[in-house]
Symmetry: C2
Subunit: 197 residues, 2 copies
């Protein structure tokens, strides 16, 4: 069963897929979905060979510039949103609320792991701030210790170039119940309260 075992082992490299799920996937693909298996194989090869980083915002793309960086309307918006990963870009895009450009750090500052400002492309970001045309830097890094530290670091950078910075709001999720929200989030929700007019 060598080809089958190989496939089970290879599927285990996917995040969240263990031995049992890999077995189930393998048998389902082989019993009923061979065409889909081939389509998946082709998609993996194409993506692994062609996808690189956008030269301007560092997100994943097959072209020199991603579609957002190629849109003149978005480039001239004066807004730049700094996120940690391409998945964050996708999540924000799905809201259709934001019409500016992005900068993807592909990680966060983590001195203990040897990840400094240049490793997350802050030299590239600084060049872009220097070039002008940016009126506001929106910090959308994750609300973790590293994400907050990274946000503070970038805020300092923006301040040196006299550019307004903002942090996305943290608080009680819409549809969430107060009783199930953790203390830190609730603390943020109080300190970030808004006056009603």
């Amino acid at each position: 069963m060598s080809a089958i075992d190989d496939l089970i082992k290879a599927l285990c490299c996917l995040p969240g897929v263990g031995q049992k799920s890999a077995q189930r996937m393998t048998f389902q693909l082989l019993e009923r979905r061979r065409e889909e298996a081939k389509v998946l194989a082709q998609a993996l090869l194409t993506a692994a060979d062609n996808v690189g980083h956008c030269q301007r915002c560092r997100t994943l793309t097959e072209n020199t510039l991603c579609s957002i960086c190629e849109s003149p309307k978005r480039q001239s918006s004066g807004l730049i949103c700094v996120v940690e990963t391409p998945a964050d870009v996708m999540a924000i895009e799905q809201t259709s609320q934001y019409q500016g450009r992005y900068f993807v750090l592909m990680g966060h500052l983590s001195p203990l792991d040897g990840i400094g400002p240049d490793d997350i492309g802050l030299d590239v970001l600084e060049q872009q701030l220097q070039q002008g045309g940016i009126e506001e830097v929106i910090l959308a890094t994750n609300p973790t210790v590293e994400g907050e530290a990274t946000a503070h670091f970038i805020a300092d950078l923006a301040r040196q170039h006299r550019i307004t910075t903002s942090r996305i709001a943290h608080g009680v999720p819409v549809g969430g119940e107060l009783g199930y929200v953790d203390q830190t989030t609730l603390g943020h929700a109080f300190s970030g309260r808004k006056r009603l007019d």
Copy 2:
């Protein structure tokens, strides 16, 4: 982001993988695991092109006969275990308790879906029972309505050829607590009780 979108969509064909998991897999593969992505693509192509059914027991294999059907020791054991899927064979093999051969139905009888005896290979199984050399048929189909019906059907078949049949034991799982076991299982556990000597 066409190559990325294609990969996300293709990953959604895997069982238990939705849009969000597919996104997470795609980004993780592209950010850190391109080599593993290529290995997976190759494994998918090899398996989809080469894996067929064993001519004797109908399990999935790349050869004419699977490794179990090629083992003379197992073929001469006189035992044949009937299971629904290749995954069941793998599960039983992992116990190392069984040293006979298998017959894989690749499904179960389901008249409402138009799945009759010949669709699950019972004509092939009958030929094998006729050829002799089998002393006991062990029925290890799932304890579902269809699995039980299939087991009864095969038991009748074996009886016609005067071959002993047995059904694997159903009862309280080892390590399980009685309070958490469902009524049907507990019923089976009582009716299948064994006298202690």
